[in-house]
């Protein structure tokens, strides 16, 4: 059994009298991309800061590569790359100088590696410009570059797609998938936008008001919520109802929502046609992840 790269156990965080995190548990294995999703103020960034040792942990445990972040900070953080909140860089330095500074903090990062990473994030042309001249998207890329410079096996990104254009999001997505597959990195991405993560995360954790409400494999979730729901557009709704299995609902004047196995659809169509019911269209109702999760989280109330 593979050891998890990151393991959080029952994390609590209290600031003043307010309990911000009420027992967060997470596990990430190599090659996983975990989407950490929650509405604003749910505690995503706080969790990330606890994991990175930026804030003190009230109770609970964080282990990165089997090292406790509290007791063995230097070893635990050794193979972690992160962007917290905004990609914070030294504005008055060039992109290359920024990376060089970070490189100096580790052993064995040579200029070749820096060039390699720059190429990976696609900043070759602008790397010698001052960061203050960069667009937000370019800063995000540079942020990723500084995070993966030392070949970490755990990458923590806090809202990395903020401020990126669709193309930027796409290339970021490709980059992350590549890192997870080829370098076997474990990646934790937080976001409030589920649709964005849908396409490349293989696991999702949903956090709401400091509690994890749901953790599952994305494939399972998709299967579960969108299984066998079809919308039939017919002329005579009432007549058609009689032929349909239980659980069918009339969703509008000419539409029926029917839950059946996909294999049974042709049979049902045949039956309806035999009864001279006109069928205009049959569509599979694919519930988006977002809809599914909205149902589960039921909206967030900032306490």
């Amino acid at each position: 059994m593979e050891q998890p790269v990151l393991k959080c156990e029952n994390l609590h965080k209290q600031i003043g009298k307010k309990e911000i995190l009420k027992g967060i548990s997470l596990e990430i294995y190599p090659g996983d991309i975990l989407g950490f999703i929650g509405p604003n103020g749910a505690g995503k960034t706080t969790t990330i800061k606890l994991i990175l040792g930026l804030q003190s942990i009230s109770s609970g445990k964080v282990e990165i590569n089997q090292f406790d972040i509290k007791k063995n900070f230097e070893k635990a953080i050794q193979k972690v790359g992160a962007i917290v909140e905004n990609p914070d860089l030294y504005m008055y330095l060039s992109g290359y100088d920024n990376l060089k500074l970070i490189a100096n903090l580790y052993k064995n990062i040579d200029n070749k590696r820096i060039r390699e990473v720059v190429k990976l994030v696609g900043l070759e042309n602008r790397i010698d410009d001052k960061v203050s001249k960069y667009s937000l998207g370019m800063r995000q890329r540079l942020g990723v570059a500084q995070a993966i410079l030392h070949k970490p096996n755990l990458l923590i990104l806090d809202e990395p797609t903020n401020g990126l254009d669709p193309e930027g999001i796409k290339s970021m997505r490709e980059l992350l998938v590549k890192l997870a597959k080829e370098e076997h990195m474990a990646i934790l991405i937080s976001s409030h936008n589920l649709a964005e993560l849908e396409s490349f995360c293989n696991k999702v954790s949903i956090i709401k008001n400091g509690i994890i409400v749901e953790t599952s494999n994305l494939e399972d979730v998709k299967k579960e919520v969108s299984e066998g729901t079809f919308i039939f557009e017919v002329d005579n709704v009432k007549q058609a109802m009689l032929l349909c299995p239980e659980g069918t609902t009339i969703s509008s004047e000419h539409k029926l929502t029917i839950t059946i196995e996909k294999n049974d659809v042709p049979e049902l169509v045949r039956k309806l046609v035999m009864q001279n019911i006109k069928i205009y269209s049959v569509t599979e109702d694919i519930l988006t992840l977002e809809d599914a999760f909205l149902k589960k989280t039921g909206g967030n109330i900032i306490e």
């Binding site: 230097e74 008055y92 330095l93 100088d97």
Partner: protein, 470 residues
């Protein structure tokens, strides 16, 4: 973690301050050079002459102002004579000594202008002859003649005086005159002439102190100062020192820490006050804290960089002052070593200028390091750059105020405060500190305690700090 240094070197503000410092340095060197030209002027100038001419009563005939007219006329005549030879010439001094009140000149004027002259014709003739002889000697131009005459008179007086203090003064005068003749130091205004005068003055102060019983601390300090001045002057005279003044390159270098103290402090405080808080306000602290270094190491690295910056900046100032001062005022003054009177051994010592700067720098270091640490601690505690720059600067400005308070009202409790203790130049070469009861070990302990308090607080706070959202 010498990364921090690289970061600083690439900041714009660092260069701005450096350039301002350089500009100030060039400017002040020009100012000093101008002052140099005006050094060692005599007692009178053209302005005085003009003033006398205007203030003199218009006529000698008015009985009420007749006396005043005569005395002012005598003065004016004397000044005109001085003007003839130049205000800084040796003649100027001689004329002033010989043609004071009741001089031949006065007699002559009394005879010429007084409504009721008290001077007989015979007296007048004698005075006139004396005066003409005197002017003739001035013209021939041998000051040694006058020095010999003065020496003779002093020797005469020594034989006749019984008053001990008077005798001591005369002995000093004799010594000075001997030096004058031996070393060929004329009465003309010059560095060595000035040394002779100061020597004479300080000798008298020292004598008075040594022969009085009531010794207050401030008097003792004055005595120490005089002792130092006296011996330094003596050294210069005996060694035929070249022209040394308080405004040349050498003196600026020796007083480096007084001249540029504000710049050193502003620079160091600016760096120390922003080095931590800037990272917080820009959010880049997170970039550093998620690296495999403990927070203590990170803070320590930043602190070390501050100390390095302090040393580098002082070196920078010393070197650039040497070069700029040298270019503007010439390099020759810097070939003279520093001259110090050591109160412990009661001897004059010479050392190279560099060594002197290093010694005073070490003695001054507690001031800089403590203020820098204060800035650094504020930077760490408040994570606000403005606050952490302003507080130490206020502290520096307030320090002299606190010292004066302690001095004026004799508040013993304030001696446990850091400001009376942190300047160790007051102990250098055995001199007396500003406050009577202070000793070196005491001051070291006080400084260390304050330093420790700041360092411990900032490290504890930084270690425990939660990195808040920005």
């Amino acid at each position: 973690m010498k990364n921090e240094l690289i970061k600083l070197l690439k900041k714009k503000s660092t260069y701005i301050i450096l350039i301002i410092t350089l500009a100030f340095m060039i400017f002040s060197n020009f100012m000093y050079q101008r002052n140099t030209k005006q050094m060692y002027s005599g007692n009178y100038s053209d302005e005085d002459l003009q003033y006398y001419e205007e203030a003199m009563p218009s006529s000698s005939k008015d009985p009420e102002t007749n006396d005043m007219y005569i005395s002012m006329k005598s003065n004016l005549d004397m000044m005109k004579l001085i003007q003839k030879y130049g205000y800084n010439s040796w003649q100027a001094y001689v004329i002033q000594t010989y043609l004071g009140n009741d001089s031949d000149l006065y007699v002559m004027n009394e005879h010429d202008y007084a409504i009721n002259p008290t001077v007989s014709e015979k007296e007048y003739l004698v005075a006139k002859e004396n005066y003409e002889n005197f002017v003739q000697k001035l013209d021939v131009g041998d000051w040694k003649h006058f020095a010999m005459a003065e020496l003779e008179r002093v020797e005469q007086d020594i034989k006749t005086t019984s008053d001990e203090q008077k005798l001591a003064e005369l002995q000093t005068q004799k010594q000075v005159l001997h030096w004058r003749l031996d070393k060929d130091i004329s009465y003309a205004e010059s560095f060595l002439n000035n040394c002779l005068r100061r020597y004479e003055n300080h000798c008298n102060i020292v004598y008075e102190y040594e022969h009085s019983n009531n010794h207050e601390y401030s008097e003792k300090q004055e005595y120490y100062n005089s002792l130092e001045a006296l011996n330094t002057c003596k050294y210069y005279i005996e060694n035929n020192a070249k022209n040394i003044d308080n405004n040349d390159n050498r003196s600026i270098l020796l007083d480096l820490f007084d001249n540029y103290e504000l710049f050193i402090l502003i620079f160091v405080i600016m760096i120390a006050g922003s080095i931590v808080s800037d990272e917080f306000s820009k959010g880049t602290i997170k970039l550093l804290l998620v690296r495999p270094y403990s927070r203590i190491k990170i803070l320590l690295a930043k602190f070390m960089v501050c100390i390095m910056v302090l040393i580098l900046f002082i070196t920078f100032i010393a070197i650039s002052q040497y070069l700029i001062g040298g270019c503007i005022q010439g390099f020759d003054s810097t070939s003279v070593p520093a001259v110090i009177y050591n109160h412990n051994t009661n001897q004059i010592e010479t050392m190279s200028i560099i060594r002197y700067i290093v010694i005073t720098g070490v003695a001054k270091a507690p001031v800089y390091i403590l203020l820098m640490t204060l800035a650094f601690a504020c930077s760490t505690l408040f994570t606000n750059t403005a606050v952490s720059i302003v507080i130490p600067l206020l502290g520096y400005m307030g320090s002299s105020l606190i010292n004066q308070l302690a001095l004026a009202f004799n508040i013993k409790a304030l001696l446990y405060f850091v400001t009376p203790n942190w300047d160790f130049t007051q102990y250098l070469f055995g001199s007396l500190p500003e406050f009577e009861t202070l000793t070196i070990p005491f001051s070291i302990i006080v400084c260390l305690v304050y330093f420790a308090i700041m360092v411990v607080t900032m490290f504890t706070v930084f270690k425990k700090r939660n990195i808040k959202n920005i």
